[in-house]
Amino acid sequence: MNLGKYLTIYKKFLHTSLASELEYKANILVDLITAILSLVGSIFLLSIFFQNSGYIGGWKFEQALIIQAIYTILNGITNTWFNPNLTEIVKHIREGTLDFVLLKPIDSQFFISLKKLNPSGFLEIMLGFFLLFFCIRINQINLNLSFVTLSLVTISCSICILYSLWFFISTTTIWFVKTWNAIEVLRSFLYIGRFPLNSFSFSLRIFFSVFIPIAFITTIPSEVFLGLSQLWKILLEVIVALVFLITSRKFWLFALKFYSSASS
């Protein structure tokens, strides 16, 4: 793979997506307001849960805020990259415009995963980081190199898991044609990631760790921030992320053999 070529193409993707989105100023403004209100609403909801007892699943409100911050960053990434691109896969397959993607001399997964970008998601990412730095301060977390490295590794793994899950579901469109509902279910599960894994019952914890690894997405990075993480958990998250990435890639290449294109 020619990295230089892919970087040039990605620069073009960024340019065309930004130019497309900036055509609709009002839409961007509404998105920005929604992102701020959504974060304020989520923190308010979280504070209600903590009103009666100071702890949920062994987590204090200040600690749970870290999960909220990571969730906000991930949601921002979802809204910036995954939502505009991965929901388009369904459209590409239904309308047959995947033909144009497959006939381009570049990796089709790269093309359909990164072609578009929603700039209003950037604000959510920034708000998430702002909240995260605020949490680092109020929880008196000591910033050192190993902490930053582990945080980056776990957050990157979370992004990979989330992307792979979404991409995997979208790929099934090649057989099932319509998979909007499955994607909505995934998004709903992601909302659950705003709460500490320990706040759920044992069976739900197993479900969210094994079957739909939402737990890995927010809880493990949060534990790193609070110094509660164990090495095996971080290693497990790295392995899960790699397995998910490789599987989703292989599944895409396998599924393309069954692509029949839409009739003209």
Binding site: T8, E23, L103, P105
Partner: protein, 331 residues
Amino acid sequence: MVQNIIDVRNLSKSFDISSKEPGLKGTIKHFFRRQTKSLKVIKNISFEIKEGEIVGFLGANGAGKTTILKMLCGLIYPSEGSILVSEHLPFRRKENFLKNITLIMGQKQQLIWDLPPIESFYLNASIYDIDKFEAKKRIKKLSEMLEIDEELFIPVRKLSLGQRMKSELLAALIHEPNILFLDEPTLGLDINAQRNLRKFLQKYNKETNATICLTSHYMKDITSLCKRVICVQEGAISYDGKLDLLLKKLSPVKEILIVCRSEEDASKLENFGFTVKNKIKNEITIKIENESITPSLKSILNNFDIEDLFINEPPIDEVIGKVLIKKEYDI
């Protein structure tokens, strides 16, 4: 000797199709137990296409023309048989192969809807490894050939269908492909836009010696661009050869309207041995086989006092339409 650029041998394609009975009961049954059957849409076809040839694929809706094109460009895996396009197996979609071909579909678009076409051109240029300077040169050359200029800087959503199609062509040709697959490229265009597009394709073929595979339901596209046609009937090839030979086969006789100076002459001509379609006063319409038109007309002009004479070519759409009617004509 001109080389074969496309070589198709015993190609077949089957799809699993599900069918549903009408009504609520049928819908529920279809939801719980879907009945699928394998449908062979392309049946053991073989053909070759030479470099620089323009070949038209003719057939009714659902005959399998688009499926053939999509297998040729590597979008659909064949079920049986072999395809070689520009010495590549298309379905492997290797970079060198993809840089050599393009697919243009009249009913689907690849341009970015909210941006001027020029943005899509530069994006495609970077995908095809074309540097900015070279891309600019190619855009200038192609836009001159396509006669588009200001349209390059207007958002695609504000362009007319004709302008959009020209821009689609430019986007699809920026990498100067050797093989063009065109699936109904003139669909929905007005007469002038259709003519301009055809003019462009002729010019492009002449200048670059590109091979063009074309499907179209507008017969003018086929007659003005293709010397060779491949007729597809229910997934099988029913004719592969020169278009003029096909027309002769399908329409072996011509109708000739003869205006005689007198009614008496017209009556004499009626009994001269030709097949008469009708006779109204001094006007008589006869049918003559294509091969004997010249001697027959000579004999008529020598023996009768003729005021005027019209040779009626049957409308091309009507003639080709016979090919499209399933099973009715065995070519």
